[in-house]
Structure formats: C-alpha cells, structure tokens
Symmetry: C2
Subunit: 222 residues, 2 copies
DNA sequence: TGATTATCGATATTATAATATTGAATAAAA
DNA sequence: TTTTATTCAATATTATAATATCGATAATCA
C-alpha cells in the first residue's frame, strides 16, 4: 500500500537550503551511503535536526524510517525534481563586458540547467561579434529577439544607471525572471521575478561582522 | 537641546536593505533632493512606508519631521557610517583562475571598501606571477601570509572539493570573515562569518518561479 | 520473544520580521 | 491665529520561520 504523504509547506528559506542538501547528499551517495539520519545532516550543516527533518518532509515522497533515517537516493531524486535541474532554461545576457562575459564561459551555470543563448551590449567593439561562440547583439534589439526566441530569463550585468532600462526591455520581450547583478532596485510588473545578486549587500555584511569582531576583541582581549 | 533618540533594533533583513536605500538616496541627493518622505521611498522600492520608517529609525540619528520627511544628507551619512564604507578592509583571494581573477579587476569592490592585496592558487602557471598588479602565491602559503599581513577577509573562488581546505587555511591564518563563492557549506569555528554567494541557490529560485509561471499560464490562459 | 534505543512525525512554543492601527506633531493655507 | 493636510512615532497585530516537547515506531540485542 502506497502511503502518499501529504507534503507540508516548503518555506522560501527551506527552499534555499535545498541546493546545499543536494550537493551533500550526492557526495555521501558517491561515497556509498544508502541511508542518512537527520542528526548527521544537521551536524554537518550546523542546523538543528528538527529543521532538517522538516525540510526533508516538505520535499520527500518517502518518509524517514526510525533507526534508519532517510533514503539518500530518493532524497536526491526528489530535490533534483523540485529544483528543476532536469529541464534546461534558456537565458539572455545584457551587458557582455568584462564582468558579464564571464557568464559565457561559466560551466557551472549549464550544470544547474541554464543555457545562455545570446548577449546584448551597446559597445560597438563587441556588437556583431561572438564571445565564446555566443552572438552579441545591440541592446536595442532586446525585446524583439527575446520575443522571437521565446526567452524567459534575463541576466542583467550592466552599470547601475542602465539597469532599469535593460530590465524594461527584457520585460517587454516577455522575460519572466531576471537575475540582477546591478546594484539598483528594479521595478517590474507583477508576475516578474527579480533575483538580486548584490555585491554591496554581501560586502556590507562582511564588513559589519569584521568591525564588530575587531572592536570586541580590542575591548575584551583574551 | 539634543534629543538623543535611542535607536530601535536593526534586523538582518533591514540591514540588507540599507545598500539599496543608500544608492537611491545618493541618486536623489545628486538630483537636488533635500528631504524625502517615507511614502516616496516606499513607492520606489515597493515596500510599505511603515517598513521604510522603521528602517530609517533604526539607523538614523535624526528623526523624521512630519510634513517634511527625512533629511536626505543625514541619512546618507548615517547609512555609510553603518555600512562601514569609510574604512577599507584588506582581503585575499583564494582561487585566481578564470572566475576568481575577475575580482582583481573589479572596480566596484574598491568602492565598497574592500581591497584585494593578494591571490592564492595551486596552478603553477600563475603562481609567482602578477594578475592586474596583484601577486599570486601558492595556496600552501595562505595561513603564513594572512598572519603576516594581518588580513581578516578571505574570498573563496575554488572548486567545491577544495573549498573546505582553503577555508581551514584562511581560518588558521586569522581570517574572520569569508566570502564563499563555492557551492558547498563551510564549517568554521564560532566567531568566523561565512557569507555564501551560491549561484545554485539563485538559479533554483529563478527556475522555480519560471516553472510555476509557465505552468499556470498553460492551465489558465488569458 | 521482549526490552532497549535511536530515530522519526506531529503538535506546541518561541523568535523574528512585516504590517496595520492610532494618535500626535508640524508646516502650510485660510 | 486657526484650521487642514500630511507625515511621523509608538503600539498592537499578524505572518513567517525556527526550535522544543512528546509520544510512536522500528531495528537491534538479550
């Protein structure tokens, strides 16, 4: 009898932990592990085991077994399914300069189901050329080409003052998800997702921790 | 009489919004704005005005004035102070290959108070050379040189299977904050911060949104 | 076969963050 | 000077996520 367990709600936070679980599970599976307990997983990541159990319960089709733990292989299948690494998504890149063009040669992107099919830029030195085998068009063509190619993902790697304009063109071209590497907030209509990758935010967190730490050690030296 | 307002607690979420506020405030200040109301800021970012007021209250030394709003210049000063953009932090880069070396030429990093002073790698083709004027040493020297240079920030840009080892060496060298671009969880002793920059996580979020969106539009076409 | 123990799932509690409500303050207009 | 519109601050509420508690289950061992 198949006990089709109703999956609990998966929070955004939990969703973001999934790639980490997946990477770890794949590693221990390759090393021969068949079962894994929530306690061991929790120890590895520094989480609580309750959290790990809840996370697994929210994605897994098979329940854990007392004294045995969870089926590693099944978990891998379920998480890969959830993350959608199977189906490949096509994306375009806006801003193919020094920073942006690194995306063309970045292999790990492919691994996670993203394929960059074209680049756009306003610099005439690179427009019309190919970078790592991918064509670079002028930015004025963004909407037109996105529509024609049915592309739904856009990567923004242009300077901040050009980001909103690039974003608008992508949206006009039917793009539904934007990976934003500029440092500005992007306004988009409802239904379009902006995923921000903001260096300034990360650096602020690093810098704050460091300042707090150094100040503390100064006052209370061991 | 100076009303020294006791600042409310600043949540991590709120802290991460600060770089966005700062960028926006600087822009409107350059355009001549002296005061700004929480409503306008909220509109720009798609936040609620209550949230904006709370965020500002948590960092600003000056309260907002009814009918006038907040002093733009004062906010800029307060947020810059909070984020620590004034003082520069020195960092080392582990993994100076195709991806890692882009950090050397990345200008925006400097702007946010980070200066990369050296790189490390295990590839003998680049060890001993200079990339964009910065020396690249062999990875076996990480701890030793970090100690000598008193560096407290490390950037990890090596393949996943080498990340934990690199991390350990940095920690041994006295590094207190690690910017992790690998896709694995890093174990560190208490007191050391790991800031993850995980492409897999972002791509998962993008991919999920897209799948949900496309599936929905398929079922309920407009 | 029965006791033991590791591990699970479900429910309850607490912590954190976002939003709604209310009343007060202030600049500008009447 | 009084009124009005706007915007603020403080408190209360709700939403979200993390953690703690407890009873149940299944493999192991006596």
């Amino acid at each position: 009898m198949k006990t089709e367990t109703k999956k609990p709600h998966l929070s955004i936070q939990a969703f973001q932990r999934m790639p980490y679980y997946l990477q770890y599970l794949k590693k221990i599976f390759a090393e021969g592990a068949v079962n894994i307990s929530s306690r061991l997983v929790a120890q590895h990541f520094g989480f609580t085991e309750i959290q790990v159990r809840k996370d697994f319960a929210a994605v897994s089709s098979a329940a854990g077994i007392p004294k045995h733990g969870f089926d590693v292989k099944q978990l891998i299948i379920d998480i890969e399914e959830l993350l959608g690494y199977r189906n490949t998504n096509e994306a375009v890149l806006v801003g193919a300069g020094a920073f942006g063009s690194t995306f063309f040669k970045c292999d790990s992107i492919k691994e996670y189901g993203l394929s960059i099919v074209a680049g756009f830029d306003i610099n005439n030195d690179i427009v019309g050329k190919q970078i790592h085998g991918k064509p670079v068009f002028h930015s004025s063509k963004i909407s037109e080409l996105c529509k024609r190619m049915q592309t739904h993902i856009g990567i923004i790697a242009v300077p901040s003052d050009q980001a909103q304009e690039a974003c608008d063109k992508l949206v006009e071209g039917g793009v539904l998800a934007i990976w934003n590497f500029s440092q500005v907030h992007l306004s988009v209509p409802e239904g379009v997702l902006v995923q921000n990758e903001n260096m300034a935010v990360s650096l602020a967190l690093l810098s704050k921790h460091l300042q707090d730490k150094l100040k503390k050690d100064e006052v209370i030296p061991k």
